[in-house]
């Protein structure tokens, strides 16, 4: 760690919420707008805490990757070879037939 960071980091650790709290706020930021105070806390804390900085990046990446996948295909699928089992298929057809009489 650079000398400057070595001096600054303990100060920032004392002034900002703990990593545990910061991760909660980072998660919350994905769902709600944070207060200005909370935004600053996250910025300042992640400036010196690389672990929380990674956490934040990773949560954002997870969201972005899911969005990409859902944009590409409405059909988000576990496995494109998965099929409705034949027994179920027949049962459903039978039920539809009964119901359309």
């Amino acid at each position: 760690m650079k000398i400057g960071m070595k001096i600054v980091k303990p100060v920032i650790d004392r002034l900002t919420p703990t990593c545990e709290v910061i991760t909660e706020k980072v998660s919350k930021s994905l769902d709600e707008p944070l207060s200005l105070r909370e935004k600053i806390q996250i910025r300042v804390h992640t400036f010196t805490c690389i672990l929380c900085a990674r956490y934040r990046k990773q949560l954002l990446a997870i969201r972005k990757l899911i969005i990409r996948e859902t944009e590409q295909a409405e059909k988000v699928s576990l496995d494109k070879d998965v099929q409705l089992p034949n027994a179920a298929r027949q049962r459903i057809k039978d039920k539809l037939h009964d119901n359309s009489q």
Binding site: D13, C19, E20, T23, Y55, I66, R68, D79, L84, K95
Partner: protein, 197 residues
């Protein structure tokens, strides 16, 4: 009126099952992670579609229409579950032990829980696919309550008010659940090797 009836006669729901059954089933399975429930949801979807076929206006495709019915059924399923099932609403999360609980390091990352450096390229197509593969695997480890909120928020992309309303939970309860789900998934993804060069 008679034109509508003729149209109804021409539609054969059995054909729908052949044409759209797999698609609906795959989608349902990705959202509820249980084969029997997925089958039931698909069946209910086709039954509802059959009842409503005279309302189907053909300004959207049959596929889109069926999918919208299925999505509604999935949300209803989660809502019923959250109302019925204690496990859904009580604290179903074991203590993380990701952070020090006391002492000088209280609230700070424990070394074995500390996030690693991920090397990922969200632009890469193959990476996106392998990511979803790992994500689905990891999602299976989530408890029902966490699985539901994560699915509704991140996969269905419902807003938080809608989810709270559907599941009958407070927004602070929702935030706690989403936080736990995300933390658990992040950790699982990391352990599964995603993000390692």
């Amino acid at each position: 009126m008679s034109e509508k009836l003729t149209q109804t006669k021409q539609i054969n729901p059995g054909d729908w099952v052949d044409e759209y059954g797999d698609l609906l089933y795959r989608y349902a399975l990705s959202r509820v992670s249980n084969e029997n429930i997925a089958e039931d949801l698909v069946q209910d979807t086709f039954l509802s579609a059959l009842k409503a076929v005279s309302d189907f206006k053909r300004d959207s495709s049959v596929e889109t229409w069926l999918m919208s019915i299925l999505k509604r059924k999935i949300i209803d399923y989660y809502r019923k579950k959250s109302q019925m099932n204690d496990k859904f609403t009580t604290d179903d999360f074991s203590e993380t032990a990701d952070f020090y609980a006391e002492g000088a390091m209280k609230g700070r990352w424990k070394p074995d829980a500390a996030p690693q450096d991920w090397r990922i390229n969200p632009e890469s197509q193959t990476e996106t696919e392998s990511f979803m593969h790992f994500l689905y695997k990891c999602m299976k480890d989530l408890s029902e309550g966490l699985f539901a909120v994560f699915t509704l928020r991140e996969l269905e992309q419902l807003d938080t008010d809608a989810i709270c309303k559907e599941l009958g939970i407070t927004s602070s309860n929702l935030w706690v659940r989403l936080h736990r789900a995300r933390s658990q998934l992040r950790k699982c993804l990391e352990h599964s090797g995603f993000g390692k060069p």
